[in-house]
């Protein structure tokens, strides 16, 4: 028996429903093959906040991964979606598989995943989900040899500038999912089937998608097929040499022991004017504010209206933004009366690398 899993990385509130939908589709596909599964969003990511990095998962237990899965999938993907065979539902090992996957049910995340589907390409920089944890790299849970599938208009080589090095090898795949369908999880799943075969079969996903979208089922299944056939990907070898990460995720064991903590659930206040050192909120950002000095009249409204106290009060510094904390909400750009602030995608800035 083998446990396989898919991770979905998105942004809170705007993409939470899509995280769930993708998990439901993968789990429904597993069900069509007779395999039990669990689907869930990471509990501590909720309450989800607008922009915060969040994760969802599908965890499947199968008896074995068919050795020729990739070949079967490729043959199926060459045909129109209504011409492929139905998935075979084999429940002969259901009971043991159920026991295996249920054994993982009291965990907040699977131990490792075979594929990471990234909904917003700025998330490849990593996500700091809550205080004390630090920055989690996009491949934190990925198995050696797994795949990262990114919804992006950029090239995989460009995206590699922002992904921290790791000792694992992985496939980096890119698909312009939002350009293909407004339910953009479908192209992501299609792309995943190509670069990470064996989690669920192509035909099981097609069957699940057809069922889920009813009258539009065939149309949506064709989107999956199209993505399967046009995903671009590169193989990323393991990094050599020491891996220096500026901010790394803290492990459970590094947290203080029970007798090292102050009594009475006490946390000491940060000094006045000092941002909270335990939680940097820059990974909320898809866009960052950029001030045009020609247009700025130093009225200070951008500083005034920032909910995150992320700007300097100094007009000579043009109320410089603290990029470790700015969430990219865009309020400053909105309230600026001279329209001196533009919101620019994070990946335009090479120094958006967090390692």
């Amino acid at each position: 028996m083998v446990l396989v899993a898919v991770e979905f990385d998105g942004r809170g509130v705007t993409q939470t429903a899509l995280l769930r939908a993708a998990s439901d589709i993968i789990c429904a596909a597993a069900d069509k093959e007779g395999n039990p599964s669990l689907g869930y969003e990471r509990y501590d990511d909720a309450p989800d906040r607008v922009g915060v990095p969040i994760k969802g998962f599908s965890v499947i237990s199968k008896y074995e991964i068919p050795k020729d899965q990739a070949k079967i999938d490729a043959e199926d993907a060459a045909l129109p979606v209504d011409k492929i065979p139905a998935p075979v539902c084999d429940t002969s090992h259901y009971k043991e598989c159920y026991e295996e996957v249920a054994g993982e049910a009291m965990l907040y995340e699977p131990r490792s995943v075979d594929a990471v589907l990234v909904y917003d390409d700025t998330l490849i920089r990593g996500g700091e989900p809550w205080a004390h944890i630090g920055l989690q790299a996009i491949h934190e849970k990925l198995k050696d040899g797994g795949a990262i599938v990114v919804n992006s208009k950029r090239d995989p080589e460009y995206l590699l500038n922002f992904i921290p090095p790791t000792n694992k090898k992985y496939t980096l795949a890119v698909i312009d999912a939002e350009g293909m369908d407004k339910i953009f999880i479908l192209p992501l799943i299609g792309a995943m089937l190509k670069v990470a075969p064996g989690i669920v079969s192509y035909r099981a996903v097609i069957a699940a998608v057809k069922e889920r979208y009813k009258a539009e089922g065939i149309k949506k299944a064709e989107v999956v097929r199209e993505a399967y056939n046009k995903v671009r990907f590169i193989e990323v070898p393991p990094a050599t040499g020491p891996i220096q990460l500026k901010r790394i995720s803290r492990k459970f064991e590094e947290f203080p022991k029970w007798y090292e903590m102050p009594e009475g659930i006490v946390v000491f206040a940060p000094p006045v004017d000092t941002p909270n050192p335990h939680y940097k909120t820059d990974t909320f950002r898809t866009f960052r504010p950029v001030t045009d000095p020609e247009k700025c009249n130093k009225d200070g409204l951008c500083w005034l209206y920032c909910p995150d106290s992320a700007r300097s009060p100094d007009p000579e510094k043009l109320f410089e933004v603290n990029l470790e904390y700015c969430k990219g909400c865009g309020i400053c750009a909105e309230v600026c009366p001279t329209k001196a602030i533009k919101m620019v995608n994070e990946l335009e800035f090479k120094e958006a690398r967090l390692w």
Binding site: S23, D24, C27, A28, D31, P36, S37, L38, G39, Y40, E41, Y43, D44, A46, P47, Y98, E99, E100, A102, G103, E104, A105, M106, L107, Y108, F252, E253, F255, P256, K257, W258, Y259, I265
Partner: protein
């Protein structure tokens, strides 16, 4: 049968819909809110006809439920953690008023500090009041136990409230494969209208419910409640049998033995922890280490005879408590103390040890279950208990 992937909260909402509940009182608190969201949606879409009251607090919720039930309606309410604690006054008088309220609790660690992770303490602390309590292992059981709950609570020999306790996140939020019956079959088992009873407010039969009393009356009223809880044991057995006949599942009513053949040693607990336990103990069995798991499906009423009969064959029983009881005997968990007390009179009784596990919502892995099982297996071998009460997974 409708096979779907769903959460404990959606499964329970479906049971509530099938039960044709008349009055629902809602108030948000993580992690049970999903059941109320789903019920609101069902009503807004015309799938269920019920009065749905957005309450101003949990105390209000439970008061609304109690009085709606007192007028004969079938009701549903619920809460979690500190919210359930806010409702305590209403929770106290619901069993005393002998109304069959059915509620759901999304088990959550009590404040302070706020923590959405699962702990069972918030429900266990009201174990003395007369609420029937059960713990599903997964969303499938959550549906089953809720539907059965109405039948048990409304039985004229019982008339006590009933709460279904779902581990926060693991049973409330995670989507599992479940088989839900259709409404028609569910209503074969549970008719939409509760059986008639005397203590209902209606002009056709004027009566006063709960007048003030003095010492001439109190003890007898308590004894009636005591009898109701004793009757609940037989009624629960009967309802499980009926459920099994119609749906082909349901398991033993109070306590289920998992992997116990030829085992001298058993772990015992409530709720979702049965899942990693099953896996761990299956693996260990293949490795020649036989340890069983005793799943306590229902904690109130505590079916002493059933539980003692199951436990007495073991040399060592390790109770896994996902709760705490500060300053208690041996500073152990709540279920540990009750199980020990239940076994006290046996001339040959198992050693009972305690593991405090998963506190604050900490994960429970197959590995943790394995290591507990091995440790307890060694206790049986050596006869030596190094630590009676152990905190698992603590940073120390």
């Amino acid at each position: 049968m409708v096979r779907m992937l769903t959460t404990g909260t959606t499964a329970i909402a479906t049971a509530v819909k099938h039960a044709d509940v008349d009055v629902i009182s809602a108030y948000p608190i993580r992690p049970y809110t999903g059941v109320m969201n789903e019920l609101a949606r069902m009503i807004a879409d015309g799938e269920l006809d019920a009065e749905y009251i957005v309450s101003d607090s949990e105390h209000t919720q439970f008061e609304i439920a109690k009085h709606a039930a007192a007028c004969g309606a079938r009701v549903f309410t619920g809460s979690a953690g500190i919210g359930w604690a806010f409702a305590h006054e209403a929770i106290v008088v619901t069993p005393t008023d002998r109304v069959p309220v059915v509620a759901m609790v999304g088990n959550r660690a009590l404040d302070d500090p706020g923590n959405f992770g699962v702990e069972h303490t918030e429900t266990l602390v009201v174990r003395d009041l007369g609420w029937m309590m059960c713990w599903p292992e997964n969303p499938q059981e959550a549906y089953d136990l809720t539907l059965m709950g109405y039948k048990i609570a409304e039985d004229p020999k019982v008339l006590m409230p009933y709460v279904v306790c779902c581990d926060g996140n693991f049973i409330t939020h995670v989507r599992f494969p479940v088989d839900l019956p259709d409404e028609e079959t569910a209503r074969e088992f549970l008719p939409p209208t509760p059986p008639p009873r005397v203590n209902v407010l209606h002009p056709d039969r004027p009566l006063s419910i709960a007048p003030h009393v003095d010492y001439y009356w109190g003890a007898e009223i308590r004894r009636q409640m005591d009898q109701a809880m004793k009757n609940a044991i037989e009624v629960t057995r009967k309802v499980h049998e009926e459920f099994n006949k119609i749906f082909g599942r349901g398991g033993p009513p109070f306590v289920e033995e998992i992997n116990t053949e030829d085992a001298d040693v058993a772990l015992m607990g409530v709720g979702g922890m049965a899942m990693p336990a099953r896996r761990a103990l299956s693996q260990l069995r293949k490795e020649g280490i036989k340890v069983g798991y005793i799943k306590l499906r229902r904690f109130r009423p505590f079916a002493t005879e059933d539980i003692v009969n199951v436990l007495k064959k073991f040399k060592v029983v390790a109770v896994l408590d996902m709760d705490f009881s500060f300053g208690s005997p041996y500073a152990g968990g709540i279920i540990f103390q009750e199980v020990r007390s239940a076994l006290y009179d046996l001339s040959e009784r198992p050693k009972v040890v305690n593991y405090l596990i998963g506190l604050g919502g900490r994960e429970i892995t197959v590995e943790v279950m394995r290591s507990i099982a091995k440790e307890v297996y060694d206790i049986a071998k050596t006869g030596e208990v190094k630590q009676l009460v152990k905190w698992v997974g603590l940073r120390e």
